[in-house]
């Protein structure tokens, strides 16, 4: 593509810049307003302030929602990593029924969240399970399971079969082979899957709105507040969440991209 004429390169670069501006403008507005006061659409650049961050630290409503989100996220990660790994180990190398079960696991991720959410809502009602944080955790786990499963399965498939064979040849039991050989080889995929699961759970809004009880997670709380308009401290929260998610993203990339490739690129 070196023969690309100059004019078309300029055109492509211009479109790419436009796309970047479009994507970042919704992030730019709250971050700028977390440090500066904005009135009637124009920024007052003269007086930077951290007052919004101080106000955030005193907003109990938001902090409670944040804590709930973290609790839900951690429970979702534990449940989805344990069951996703279990399913990947079980389905790996099995032919009969695997594609059907795999399809079922992927359904909640492929279907619009409103359908998964409503199906779970009716299910909980039919089995008499009161809407609570438990139902939220189940909803999130069902949603992110496909990602964890897929991440672990891909690592399993790339793992050499000879490792397991060697372990058995050396007299190890199935249990020992699992703990000493398989699990250590899967660990980085599991960590990567866990980070992705946490990131998805942290921002899940649509399923949560449908299956939550009285306690709301951060996105649902923000959703409820948005109808009335946000107080400035929300902007501080946005800036912090952005930093946090970028950090998570960098971490996930570290664990998911194989080492050789990573060193090749740096």
């Amino acid at each position: 593509m070196s023969a690309l004429p100059r004019l078309s390169t300029i055109f492509l670069a211009a479109i790419t810049t436009l796309v970047a501006v479009l994507l970042y403008s919704p992030l730019f507005v709250p971050i700028v307003s977390s440090f500066f006061t904005i009135s009637h659409g124009s920024v007052d650049w003269s007086s930077p302030t951290l007052a919004t961050y101080v106000a955030l630290a005193e907003n109990h409503d938001i902090l409670t929602a944040l804590r709930t989100t973290l609790i839900v996220g951690v429970c979702t990660v534990i449940l989805s990593v344990v069951s996703g790994t279990l399913l990947a180990l079980y389905y790996h190398g099995r032919r009969s029924g695997r594609s059907l079960l795999q399809f079922i696991i992927f359904l909640p991720f492929l279907m619009p969240p409103i359908i998964s959410g409503l199906a779970l809502l009716i299910f909980f009602r039919e089995i008499g399970l009161e809407r609570s944080l438990l139902t939220v955790v189940i909803g999130h786990t069902v949603f992110v399971l496909a990602i964890v499963y897929r991440t672990v399965l891909m690592r399993l498939q790339s793992m050499s079969r000879t490792l397991v064979d060697a372990s058995y040849d050396l007299g190890a039991t199935g249990w020992q082979t699992f703990w000493r050989i398989i699990l250590p080889n899967l660990s980085s995929a599991m960590v990567g899957g866990a980070i992705l699961a946490f990131a998805l759970s942290f921002d899940e809004t649509m399923i949560t709105i449908l299956v939550t009880g009285t306690q709301s997670t951060l996105p649902v709380r923000l959703w409820a507040m948005m109808r009335l308009g946000f107080s400035p401290d929300i902007n501080a929260l946005v800036a912090l969440i952005l930093m946090f998610t970028v950090l998570l993203c960098v971490l996930a990339a570290r664990f998911l991209i194989p080492r050789q490739v990573a060193t090749e690129r740096t």
Binding site: L12, T16, P26, S83, A119, F123, M206
Partner: protein, 290 residues
């Protein structure tokens, strides 16, 4: 020896447990809820209580009531438009990325994907404030002299939904297109160049056809995500921007008709499955081999 004897049954019990769980988990938490949901679509509601007897009433209502089919159709058109706009913006950007070398390529790709991780609700809120009457877009258009005075063209209507969904979903179009462009062997492009084709000819005859699977995947991703969204239309659509997702959601809130909502969900699921299958059919790479 005794140790082996005692671990063996334990191991067998464990593997039985794993087998049961491997089948039970997907069935109980995914298949059963979906089946109950489908069953609900044949029930009805009488004075606030659900009548558990089978009828096709909900589906008849969906097809005969003058309200639902037009909204359903308009929503499909809206989401197809979102997919088209996303692709028109994402394709040049993805193409530009593949012209870059090594580290820059992936750094810029990351830069364009990071906004995906940002809180969805916050983004809707920010976009709404940008599109608003006193928002940045109106300010810019007035300053540039395109508009005489701030316009309500982008507030609380279908345009607002279209723009917001597009802004939210562009990254989902960039990634599959980028991956399909990146997979095109450079040899083919050089061969085309050697054979005397111009840059435009190479693009139209080699690059574009080979990247169409990525475009199909991108379109199907964006369409499915757009049509399933009920929060964005609720937040930026106002009264005139009424989409299928909102009607569906309202059946579980204010309208309180779960069985009818379930029937509407079935209609939505049919469209989504069709979109996924079309994306899958055309999104598969048919043998680029060198």
């Amino acid at each position: 020896m005794s140790k082996a004897d005692s671990t063996l049954p334990a191991e067998r019990r464990l593997s039985l447990l794993v087998t049961v769980l491997a089948f039970a988990l997907p069935v109980v938490f995914v298949l059963v809820p979906l089946a109950i949901f489908l069953g609900y679509s044949f029930f009805s509601v009488d004075q606030g209580t659900i009548v558990y007897s089978l009828s096709l009433g909900n589906y008849v209502r969906f097809f005969t009531d003058p309200v639902f089919l037009p909204v359903f159709w308009n929503t499909i058109v809206l989401c197809v438009s979102v997919a088209i706009i996303c692709i028109l913006l994402a394709y040049p950007a993805a193409y530009f990325l593949t012209t870059l070398k090594g580290r820059w390529r992936y750094a810029l790709l990351m830069l364009l994907l990071v906004p995906l991780l940002m809180s969805y609700v916050i983004k809707i809120y920010a976009i709404r404030s940008i599109l608003g009457l006193n928002g940045f877009l109106n300010k810019a258009l007035v300053t540039l002299g395109i508009l005489q005075e701030p316009s309500t063209l982008f507030v609380f209507n279908m345009n607002a939904i279209l723009l917001t969904l597009t802004l939210l979903l562009i990254p989902f179009a960039i990634l599959p297109i980028f991956l399909s462009l990146e997979r095109i062997p450079q040899v083919l492009l050089r061969a085309s160049d050697d054979l005397g084709a111009s840059g435009l000819q190479t693009f139209l005859r080699i690059t574009l056809p080979l990247s169409l699977p990525g475009v199909a995947s991108a379109a199907s991703f964006v369409f499915v995500l757009a049509i399933g969204d009920f929060l964005t239309p609720q937040m930026v659509g106002g009264i005139s921007g009424f989409t299928f997702g909102r009607i569906l959601y309202s059946q579980f809130g204010t309208a309180y008709n779960w069985p009818f909502g379930a029937a509407l969900s079935v209609a939505l699921a049919v469209v989504v499955i069709a979109a996924i299958l079309i994306g899958e059919r055309f999104g598969r790479n048919r043998g680029i081999s060198v």
